[in-house]
Amino acid sequence: MRLAPVDYLIIALYFAFVLGIGWLIRKRVASSEDFLTSSRSVPLWITSLAFIAANMGAQEMIGMCASGAKYGLMTAHFYWIGAIPAMIFVGVFMMPFYYGSRARSVPEYLRLRFDEKTRTFNAVTFAAMTVFSSGISMYALGRLFQLVLGWSFTASVLLSAGIVLAYTYLGGLTSAMYNEVLQFFLIVLGFTPLAMLAVHRAGGWEGISSRLPAMMTHSWAYTYSPSANAMGVEVFGLVMGLGFVLSFGYWCTDFLVIQRALAANSMTAARNTPLVAAFPKMLIPFIVIVPGIAAMALMQMNVGYSLPPKGSGYDYDLTLTTLMASFYPSGLLGVGLTALMASFMSGMAGNITALNTVWTYDIYQGHIRKGAPDSHYLMVGRLTTIVGTGLSIATAYLAQLYNNIMDLLQLVFGFVNAPLFATFLLGMFWKRATGHGAFTGLLAGTGAAALTHGLTLAEGKGAWIARLHEFPSTMAQNFWIAIVAWTTCFLATIVVSLLTRPRPESELVNLVYGITRLPPPEPQARWYQRPAVLAVVVGISCLLLNIWFG
């Protein structure tokens, strides 16, 4: 892939704008809350677009396009059932407690609702996970640019991380979120032409359907048995594992996304954040997954497009960039690459700002130094930005050297995350749940996840204890590990809660359903601004997509 001066001009213009936005917002940071929580002042259209942009890292764009090429339209389940229902749930049912409790972070909610040890467990694993995932995605970006453009790994990693560091250091969460919105527009406008050109060249949706096995262009029709689809999953594992446990575990409890909603300027705006975000979210498959499917059709057509081979198949991770090289002339190619960088930056800034808040408020203020003046915590927040970026860069280099350690860490974090939604569900909707119950449940769920992995085999992975069962794919294995972990955590939390002393109801106001008086819709909110109305419209739209592309 060769770049022309105009491509570099576009990349430079983008850098100038994101840094400029950070520079303009720096004046709005006067306290630690300004820096770490935006002091609950951000309008809905920004919070909702930042909510999905923070989740749309470069790995997601590259990975979803690759999955589209490998598995076909079933990849859309990661959006249509793996995100939308959970986004509706968190907006309608959970946000009143997150926002109403005035917790500054998700771990802080756990301290208010349960106890210190549950909060600390969540805060520490979350902090480690954010550093790890921003490092991994930095590694992916550096490697991709090295491969495709011949840029040096160190230069791409340091430049992109340096820019994120600069604008986050200057303006904190507000700056990160405002930039995420600009990045979101760029991602959509930069990738949409690619989807249109690739689909058009492959003969439209009909041309694609006629050239590929029917499994590639349906999302539900081939899920009746794991052997009927390339993903190797069946309906129950898909709906319960991905659609319930993994999806609700991520969208309803991960502070990376919840933080954006908590920055909203009113309760209604906070509740509407994931609901409004759901509209663009359910359309993203058309600009990232569909081009991947079109790429497979183009390969059947002998028009000169092909993916580089890898092992017995293809190197699917290069689908997005090879498509860009085939369809984008210089000029738009610069925009496409900038969009890829923008997605990396929005994901990384999401991780860094979430890490700042959890480290400063949940770990530093909670355990290392309580009761310091606010200016001290503002300084700690700023320093965390630098240290967190440094650790992410170190992780990226570690990933380059030791791929196996990274696989292992990814696995371990998967174990930690899977049971989390059971803890929140019981915490918010069952007043009898106790801190000891929640903590034991989390440990038991994490243990059960590890045990399931140790006892089952899939594509040569797992079964390090004994081999009791074999899954047709690692995806099916992941879904079932999540189901086991969630169920174990759910049951263990209930049993231990019933055996331990409950907290008095007076302490649970604003934290638990049934004791809290739910906020009435604000009188000035029009009918279409009500969370319930939005939720119904989102739900019906998503259902229609599932039926249409079933």
Binding site: R2, A4, P5, V6, L9, I10, L13, Y14, F17, G20, I21, L24, I25, R28, S41, I46, Y178, V181, L182, F185, L189, P193, L197, R201, L298, V303, G304, Y305, A325, S326, F327, Y328, P329, S330, G331, L332, L333, V335
Partner: protein
């Protein structure tokens, strides 16, 4: 309060102008798989988007 619509409107207007100019002049490296003048069309799209954002931002202030 500071309005994001102005800088993002300006950004996409500039990118749109650059793309349209490249589209009219002809790209340095054409795309192998398409004959369509994508720079011109995508540029016009971004120019329109940037223009709407600027108009919305300016109208308020």
């Amino acid at each position: 309060m500071w309005d994001l619509r102005l800088p993002s409107g300006l950004f996409f207007t500039l990118i749109g102008l650059i793309l349209c100019a490249t589209g009219l002049a002809g790209p340095t490296h054409p795309a192998p798989l398409t004959e369509v003048n994508v720079n011109l069309y995508a540029g016009a799209g971004m120019l329109a988007f940037g223009g709407v954002m600027l108009w919305l931002g300016l109208r308020r202030s």
